[in-house]
């Protein structure tokens, strides 16, 4: 009998008494998710070619499953006319992951060199729209609800002339001012002139591409939504513009300080990271504008423990130390380490990279997208990082780091994380990976992964956990369906899950619906939780972004749950106990 390698390993691990418990199968070929993420040409010679683009999870057709949108890159020959973005409809069942390319019928004709992507219902019509950050003017695509999208960049107010010169990377929607609609934060990288290519420079004795150091950094942008999908640039009025322009790559929006207001963490390349903590709002031109102060340096999250700026591509948030606060994990350059900043008290963070086992193991890798996911349903979150070097010249010999690299899967073992070296064959293959999205694509209860490689095909990795074990999982979706409310996915919502293990001990897990994503990508608008075998007495507590709390007791595992708010939107938060 022929057994797929990943499943064989899964079984072997169980049989050997060592419950590694993670097994993926590469189902790309059968999935129909056929696309190549273009980003310049290989070998990359300019910095604009090496970041790659993002991926978005979006239920554009409102059939309950998550479809995939891929903004795409272009080449230096013509940055306006690349092969174009792609939209794939999810037709998966528990029997298999299947996607259908519906780009042609969607009306999406975006060919500009694109990088980040955000998804949200910007005009509060109940349909998720798409924002794409570009090398050049950004793009807003309005979901018409009939399977097609309309380019509304100009009327949405995001396409000011000065934006045309900017290079947007990570981006995210969130209701930053608490008025119920989705505002927009766009991270910017640097000024690059595609008509004036940069010569190489020397690094570690080899000629490699130039940048980012020495190139002009660009400041980020914050836009407020008027509720109809029309945005106003409030970068200056909000305090965001006061921060020194930096090489921004990614972000996470969440209430890091614990004061009930959303804050913004921005990962900057080779510059100090920002932690924009939201204070009291300002009035500007008759508009109430949330005001932010960069507390990155003071909080300790701007640099690693040595005070050194890092590359900070991937960002993931989780309660790693179990103190109830969101900690921040970032991925970085080779010969550096990925970094874990524990959120000590909402004010201060502390670099605990080595304490949790993330340090030395990550040195050979140049990390990009990352996420905390309980891949093996054992009641704690693991970490996956996709990797690949920016320099085609990189080899183990010359850079202590290869150009093509394997993903790094770190499994939680007690207080620390350990690199998993015995997962499926997919993991053994080195790639030029850049981004990934994590979601239960086939709705079988475990989290699957789609990875995008620089100038390479998408890969679909089906998580085989649910088919191999008991239904010890939950997928929880907060859905704010109140009329006129654009923040339908409740960015910033916090889920606390309490359960009792087989030995009678209490287990507390937390998840957040944060803005931003693994790298220039989106997170699934739902929260996945795994449980060890023998779990009982499961209760949930969902804190909506406005502070309202809902509780549910005696939850049965192995199901998808929705916390839904309906009716008219109230202007004041009212705690609701259920």
């Amino acid at each position: 009998m022929i057994v797929p390698l990943a499943l064989a390993l899964l079984a072997m691990n169980h049989a050997g008494g060592k419950d590694v418990g993670i097994g993926f199968t590469d189902v790309t070929a059968a999935s129909g998710l056929v696309a190549t993420m273009t980003s310049g040409t290989l070998p990359s010679s300019q910095i604009v070619e090496v970041k790659g683009g993002g991926l978005a999870l979006i239920d554009f057709d409102r059939d309950g499953d998550l479809d995939i949108f891929m903004p795409n890159g272009a080449t230096l020959a013509d940055s306006e006319r690349g092969p174009g973005a792609k939209l794939f409809r999810n037709d998966s069942t528990v029997d298999g992951i299947r996607f259908v390319d519906v780009t042609a019928s969607s009306g999406i004709a975006l060919t500009r060199w694109s990088f980040g992507v955000a998804v949200g219902d910007v005009n509060a019509d109940g349909l998720d729209d798409i924002f794409v950050s570009c090398f050049g003017p950004d793009v807003m695509l309005r979901n018409r609800g009939d399977g097609t999208f309309e380019d509304v960049s100009a009327p949405s107010g995001i396409a000011a002339p000065e934006r045309a010169q900017e290079w947007g990377t990570g981006c995210a929607f969130a209701d930053l001012d608490g008025d119920g609609d989705l505002d927009l934060y766009v991270v910017n990288y640097l000024a690059f002139d595609a008509t004036n290519l940069l010569p190489t420079t020397k690094f570690r004795g080899l000629e490699v591409m130039s940048g980012p150091k020495g190139l002009p950094a660009q400041r980020d942008r914050l836009f407020l939504n008027d509720g109809t999908g029309v945005f106003t640039d409030v970068t200056d009025a909000s305090g965001i513009g006061a921060a020194k322009p930096s090489y921004g790559l990614n972000l996470a929006i969440l209430d890091f300080s614990g004061d009930g207001k959303l804050d913004i963490f921005v990962g900057n390349d080779s510059h100090a990271n920002f932690l924009f903590v939201q204070g009291d709002a300002n009035e500007a031109n008759g508009q109430r504008v949330p005001f932010f102060t960069d507390e990155g340096m003071k909080s300790g999250v701007a640099t690693n423990m040595e005070g050194l700026e890092q590359a900070t591509m991937g960002i993931a948030v989780a309660d790693v130390d179990g103190n109830g606060r969101p900690d921040i994990f970032t991925t970085n350059f080779s010969s550096d380490t990925n970094t874990l900043h524990l959120n000590l008290d909402g004010t201060f963070f502390d670099d605990r990279t080595s304490q949790f086992g993330f340090g030395a193991v990550s040195r050979p890798y140049l990390g990009w997208a990352t996420a905390f996911v309980d891949f093996d349903h054992d009641g704690d979150e693991d970490v996956l990082v996709v990797n690949g070097h920016v320099y085609p010249q990189a080899t183990k010999q010359s850079f202590d780091s290869d150009y093509e690299q394997r993903p790094l899967l770190m499994v939680r073992k007690g207080r620390r994380f350990e690199a998993l070296t015995e997962a499926g064959a997919w993991k053994l293959e080195p790639h030029r990976d850049r981004t990934a999205v994590f979601a239960d694509l086939d709705r079988d209860g475990d989290v699957d992964v789609v990875i995008a490689e620089l100038n390479g095909p998408l890969r679909v990795l089906r998580n085989d956990r649910s088919s191999a074990t008991a239904k010890n999982w939950l997928v929880v979706e907060p859905r704010d369906a109140r009329r006129g409310h654009g923040d339908r996915h409740a960015v910033g919502a916090a889920l606390t899950v309490r359960s009792t293990d087989a030995d009678g001990s209490e287990r507390v897990q937390r998840r957040w619906n944060s803005g931003g994503g693994p790298f220039q990508s989106t997170l699934a608008p739902e929260m996945h939780v795994g449980f060890p075998i023998g779990t009982s007495k499961v209760s949930l507590e969902l804190r909506w972004p406005d502070g309202t709390v809902e509780r549910r007791e005696n939850i049965e595992l192995g199901q998808r749950l929705t916390f839904e708010r309906v009716g008219e939107r109230s202007t004041t938060a009212q705690p609701v106990a259920q």
């Binding site: 910095i47 940069l198 010569p199 420079t201 020397k202 690094f203 570690r204 490699v208 591409m209 130039s210 940048g211 980012p212 150091k213 020495g214 190139l215 002009p216 950094a217 322009p245 390349d269 080779s270 340096m297 003071k298 300790g300 640099t303 690693n304 423990m305 040595e306 005070g307 050194l308 700026e309 890092q310 590359a311 970085n332 350059f333 080779s334 010969s335 550096d336 380490t337 970094t339 201060f348 502390d350 605990r352 990279t353 080595s354 304490q355 340090g359 030395a360 193991v361 990550s362 040195r363 050979p364 140049l366 920016v390 183990k396 010999q397 010359s398 850079f399 202590d400 207080r415 620390r416």
Partner: protein, 321 residues
């Protein structure tokens, strides 16, 4: 040792280059500080018992001056003529560690050891291999190599420091503290006249501060960071650590002062915090992209590429015989 006040770190200045290492428990190696010339002592050269090439002295000078590419060229010439010269192979590996090409360095150093030639720096090979392994992320291997070096050269503060870093990485704080303290205990009695020596003392204090910070003892951490900076004020990472400790202690003004010092220290060592925008990235000595322009996260500014209080085999002044 308790966290002594910074002034105590300066200690009495002794005239010899290496001071005296007390309680030598193993026979001194040819390159051990204990074998170093004492004040007034005459050094009597002995005949070399290993294959050598006089140009290695030039290589040592080049390495000491930071001219690694030129050193490589000279070593290539030597190895072309004497492909089995273990000492040249060793220095080739050492040069590669200076270039932070650890993967490439490892086999060179291993080949040198396997040559069987008893060149004086050979005893320190596990030290360099240990740091290479550490930077390559293989902590288990680094630990074994450091332990092998300590077994051969028990009073090797930088190797003990490396073991301390590994203990810290593994969250064995008590072990880390003991090891950093041991490193310091070896370093402190020595004179503080050389920059690298002061830097190493500062490094050990800084790591003791890290241990205290991890334990949440902010006041002790602050004191230890200050001790580190009293030894080596250019250690800009430690100014950043001190600022963070002070922030958490609520000493806002003092924290800002430490950040200002960090900026000054960065400028002194040529790594300013604020890059100059708009300048074409043509500077050949600047890393052009994401990695910090100096060695990576842990250890901080100066990944020790040689046992700093052992005679530095890269400098011709080292008493190698």
């Amino acid at each position: 040792m308790s966290s002594a006040c910074p002034a105590a770190l300066a200690g009495p200045v002794t005239p010899s280059w290496g001071g005296v290492v007390p309680e030598q428990t193993t026979p001194a190696s040819p390159t051990d500080p204990a074998a170093a010339p004492k004040p007034g002592q005459t050094v009597v050269p002995i005949e070399s018992s290993y294959p050598d090439d006089p140009r290695i002295t030039v290589v040592q000078r080049l390495l000491a001056g930071g001219d690694y590419e030129f050193a490589k060229n000279v070593l290539n010439e030597i190895l072309k003529e004497h492909p089995k010269l273990g000492r040249a192979e060793f220095f080739y590996g050492l040069t590669l560690t200076r270039l932070k090409r650890y993967e490439e360095a490892r086999p060179r150093i291993e080949n040198a050891v396997q040559s069987g030639q008893d060149f004086p720096e050979r005893i320190h090979a596990p030290h360099f291999l240990g740091w290479a392994s550490y930077h390559l992320g293989d902590v288990g291997r680094a630990k074994k190599e450091f332990e092998a070096h300590v077994a051969a050269v028990p009073k090797s503060p930088d190797t003990i420091f490396g073991l301390g870093l590994i203990a810290f990485d593994e969250d064995r704080l008590d072990d880390a503290e003991k090891l950093f303290q041991s490193s310091l205990d070896i370093l402190i009695p020595m004179e503080l006249t050389t920059r690298s020596h002061r830097r190493d003392v500062g490094k050990a204090w800084a790591r003791l501060g890290d241990v205290s910070l991890r334990r949440g003892d902010l006041a002790k951490a602050e004191e230890q960071f200050m001790s580190a900076l009293a030894s080596f004020a250019d250690h800009y990472e430690v100014w950043a650590k001190l600022a963070r400790a002070r922030d958490r202690l609520g000493k806002t003004k003092e924290a800002e002062s430490a950040r200002n010092e960090e900026r000054r220290a960065r400028e002194r060592v040529g790594l300013p915090l604020e890059p100059v925008d708009g300048v074409a990235p043509q500077e050949p000595t600047q890393p052009p992209a994401q990695p910090p322009a100096q060695p990576p996260a842990q250890p901080p500014a100066q990944p020790p590429t040689q046992p700093p209080t052992q005679p530095d085999p890269t400098t011709p002044e080292a008493p190698s015989r």
